[in-house]
Structure formats: C-alpha cells, structure tokens
Symmetry: D2
Subunit: 190 residues, 4 copies
C-alpha cells in the first residue's frame, strides 16, 4: 500500500515531496507490477521507493544530479528493503538514453532542461504510458503545458493544483498551517 | 492499486467523493488485507469498493441510509467484482452494534448524529485502529475535533484541509476550476 | 485609501494581519467617516490605524491585552498621524462597557472569551452595525457561527475563507509560498 | 470607500470580477484622486466604476471589445453616478494610443494580445505607475511574468494567488463553496 509516512524516510536538507502529494502522484502514474519507471529529479527517493513497491516485478530508475540525493535514495532503498531501484547520478536528459523504455515517468525536478527531457520521454515512453510532473514553479507548469499543447499528436494531459493545510493543535485550538501549493500534470502517450 | 477514475463508478445524483480525496482518505486509513472496515455514509460506495480491494481477506460494511445509495453501492460492487462488501441500509449509529469490530472506519457522512456514532466507534474499534472523517461542513469538523479533544485517553488525531482545482483547457488557455475544499481528520485509537 | 503596505507598520514579534486580509476586513466593515469602531485584539494596531483613516470624524478604540501591543498601536498611530485612535489595555470583554456604542466592531482576537464579547456587542452595537471576525482557528470560527445561528433574531452573517500564496522569485522561477488560510465572518445587526 | 457589493452592479452574462478580487486589485493599483486609469478588458465595468470613485479628479478609460460589455459599463456608470468614466469599444492594444498617459492600468482581460498591450503600457505609463493584471489562466500569468522578467529595466513586479471559498448555510451546517482561484500580478514602472 502506498502512503509511507514522511517521517519514515531518511532525509537531510534535500526537499522531500510530502506524503499527500506523493500519494496523488503515484495514483496518477498508475504503476503496474511489471512497469519500468523513471523518477527524474528523484530527490530523497521517497517517490522512487514507493514506486518500487508498486512495480514489484519491474524496476525504478531514480535519476538525480545531487550526490547527497543519490546517497539518500540508496539509504531509503535499503531501509525499505527495495531491491528493484537503481539510483543514477546524472542531470537529465543525460543518462536517460541508456535506460530501458519506461511505462511511467515521474518528474519531480527537471533542472532547467524540461523540453529536452520531455523530448526523450516522448521518444522512449511506451504507448499508453504516463508522465507525471510535480510543478512547484509557474514556469515549469507553463512549459509543460506548452509542450503538451505543441505535441497533441503524441500526448494528452490533465492537471490539478493541490493546496493542503495541516491543522496544528495550539492549546485548545486547531490552526491551519498552509503547505505550498503544487501543480500535478498527468500526461498520457496516445 | 487505489485510485479508480471517478467516471468508472456507476452513480446518479448521489454526491461522490472525488478521486483525489478518496485516495487520500484510503491512504490515511492504512487498510490491510485482513481488515474489517466500516464505511459510514457510504454514498455511491466508491470508497467502499476501493477499501474492499485493499481488504482482500477482510470485509467492508457500507452503511448508508439512502435507498438509492444502497442500490449504487451494490451496483458498483458488482461492476468491480468485489465480493467482500456488504451494503447495509441504516442510519448510523443504528446498525453498527451488530457489525464485527472494525480495524478502520471511514465516515463520509454521519447525518446529524456524529457523537453517538463516534461513541460506538470508540467502544468497538480495535486498539491501533483508525477513523477517517471527510468533513465538508465546519460544524462536522468542529464536532469531530471537540470529540477527539474530549477523549484524549482513547484517541489522538491529525487533520488536513485539501483544496484542489482542476485545470480546464479553454482554447489556448488552461483555467483553474476550483473544487470545494474538504477537511480530512485522521484519528487513531490509542 | 486603504491598503497600507505591511512593511510600513512598526511591529515587533506581535503577529500582524497581512495587507490583503486587512483590506478585505476593512471593506467588509464598511466604515463610514462618522463611525465609532471597536478593534478587539488589535495586535499591532494595523487594522485600527486604517480604520481610523476611514472614520475621519469618528473614533477607533483599539482594545488589546498585551502591553507590547499597546505600545505598538500608539507608535503606529503616531507614525501615521492618526489622532482619532485610542489604545486601551484590557482583555475583552473587560473595558468594552465604558466605550461609546459602536457602528462597527472588528475582532482579530478574543482570547478565550468570544461568547461574552459577542454578548456585549449584541447589546451595544447600533442597528445595522457590522461585526467582522478574523478567525485563524477552527474553534473560533465554529463558536462564532454557533453564536450567530443561536441569535438569528439579532444577527445575520456571511463568511469566507481566504487563502493567499505569494509568488517568490527564485532565479528564473516564480514559486508559490502559501500564507495560512483565514476565515472572515461578517455579521450584521438586524 | 471601495467594495461595492456584487449584487449592486448591473450585469448580464458578462463575467464579473468578484468583490474580494476587485477590492484587492484596486488596493494594489493605489489609485489617487488625480489619476488617469486604463481598465483593459473592463467587462461589466465593476472595476472601472470603483476606480472612477477613487480617481475623483482624474479619469477612467474602460476598454472593452464586447458591445454588451460597453452597454453594461455605461449602465453601471450611470447607476453609480460616475461621470469621469469613458467606455471605449475596442480590442486592446487598438485604441490605447490615443488615450492620455495613465498612472495606473488594470488588465482584466487582454484577449490574446498581452505582449503588444504591455508594450504600449511600458511606453505610455508614467514613472512610478502601476499595472495590475488579474490572470485566470496559466498562460496569461506565465506570459506576464515572462514579459516582466524580460523588461526588468522598466518594471518590477510581485504576484499573489487568491483562493476564496464562501461558506453557504445548508440547514444547520456551513459548507465551503470554492470560487476559482486567480492570480493578481502587480507591476511598477521603475
């Protein structure tokens, strides 16, 4: 079952996708047991680990340019006893061309090279495959939407914005503490 | 895997929990294969069906006072070939006392009798069990929080508000269409 | 014109209502030049100062229990050259009975004594007068709604939740930083 | 005082900016009594009317391509006895070049020609003047941000997203009904 608690992951200063966003991302990705998954900009590997637990007979490739992130991905894979997860220190799109063709791609971070990353995905993703982008900036969201609109022959998409607040108990009161909103774009290869 | 598309469920005018909220609710409920689940105010049965697919060796009891809801729950159970789901036409807390003790309880609607419903759950829920409330009104949320604060010896809780907007393509533009916000309260029996 | 920039106010550690919320609160209060305004839980006096600039021929009474708040209210009144503003060190409802009857009341904080505060307002507020509550906790919101529903002969109300995020420029990107949501309840004396 | 109730405006099917957004837009525009204001994509004229009540010794030019909008703008100007407001049937940037140089520009809608509209504003807006954009689409927001980033020598900006929900009384309950979120971008000419 997906939805590991945030506190269960090993992390340092590397930003980590919050549980609720991670869960929605994984649900949108519709990962099946035999799937090959690319997790680009994998950060701490929290999504990679959960994806690997879904793709039990498949494999997850966690691409991350930050060496500290690579260390964390491997530590989390070990902690959760996930063996079908490979961490790859690389800045996408470098390194993507040698990976097996994916059924699902999750993009948590694309650095500043979203279009070439999407070009490779457009070429390699299997028909019916899904690309899920977590966009925390307006520019990444707009670039993704522009790419999808320019490639309607290849992809169709939907997108949501998710805004979560946590109630925090302060004495006899519960006060809402807002988390930053995020857009989740789901793209299907036609 | 959880996260059936909304469109896949049979529904009529009965309000249905949206996919994203359904998924977060199920994740918070942490349903295990052998679990007994009560789904109170089950509506169309969309949560019940997904819970039944998680509690593969357990059983889900969908309690709903609306006869049209009962019809939909059964139709959806049949559509998704779920056999470990029983629809019970009753207005909670009536009917809860004869059910097997639950591991997890989901409350989508409690009519106007939240406190007596929570009293029965407090008595019957297994230690370590979870109660998840989807609150669409301020009064239900406040009542739930007040109950949990008054029963700290039995329960602890956390709560989030979730606000989702869907981007809708209108010509060359994507416009956000807001869904109504909802609070999800997760309570654990100590 | 209302809408002084947050940075223009003198403040210390005392929490201050953000510009957008202050503006919406003042608009809902519909303060006229001759109005008597009570600002209960006035904090830094940011709302009081803006109210005083609207009630040019009236007077604003800023009630605050925190001595540091009282100091800031007076400093801000001086900075903005507002002379029709009196800071009163008191914990409401104490001190309210000796004030002139109000046309508008703004409640930014009521400590834990909302009901007795609303009782005095119900008695003293002029017919057609407005009470605006900024609620940052679920309990204050629920208490306010319950009070208004129990006193339909005296008041009617409407309420909004406001969630604001600021875009923050980070290199070539704009990222949303969420502010905590707040409820604004507007009550009219029938 | 700004903040006319939505119901007070004459309107038909033309979409109207909601009171809360209108108020925040006007506050960000910081309109002074002598100001020249352009309201581009003025719709029903609700913002134009309120701007005209602020620019009491100035003038507001409401540019709108929709003839029905022009009719509504004039009807609302008459209803609120505003005489310093001129409705101009035109699709911006057409028609802007003959208007007096503005102190403040409000853009509620720019059709598909945001860049040429901003080019004229960049040329004509007085130093220290403000441009406020209400963006309901991701593309308009992204285009605006890109323009401002490309013209840092001329403009600086800030932006917020505003999400409002109204509580609706349903029997003994208050349920949140979400309004669609909107981005408000405030740009200052250096």
């Amino acid at each position: 079952m997906i939805g590991i608690e945030d506190e269960a992951f090993i992390r340092s200063d590397v930003p980590m996708t919050k549980q609720e966003i991670r869960v929605l991302t994984l649900v949108k990705a519709r990962i099946l047991p035999g799937d090959i998954v690319w997790d680009i900009g994998a950060g701490t590997g929290s999504i990679s680990v959960e994806a690997a637990r879904l793709a039990t007979k498949g494999h997850v490739y966690a691409v991350e340019r930050n060496p500290e992130g690579i260390r964390l991905i491997r530590a989390n894979a070990e902690k959760f006893a996930v063996t079908n997860l490979t961490a790859i220190e690389s800045e996408a799109p470098e390194g993507l061309d040698v990976l097996p063709a994916p059924d699902a791609v999750i993009i948590g971070g694309s650095g500043r090279r979203l279009d070439p990353v999407l070009d490779i995905i457009a070429a390699r993703l299997k028909t019916g495959g899904r690309v899920i982008l977590n966009c925390i900036t307006i520019q990444t969201l707009a670039s993704c939407l522009a790419y999808m609109r320019a490639h309607k022959d290849i992809f169709h998409y939907e997108a949501i914005q998710v805004q979560i607040s946590r109630l925090e108990a302060v004495g006899p009161y519960d006060m809402a503490r807002a988390l930053n909103p995020i857009h989740i774009v789901t793209c299907w290869k036609n």
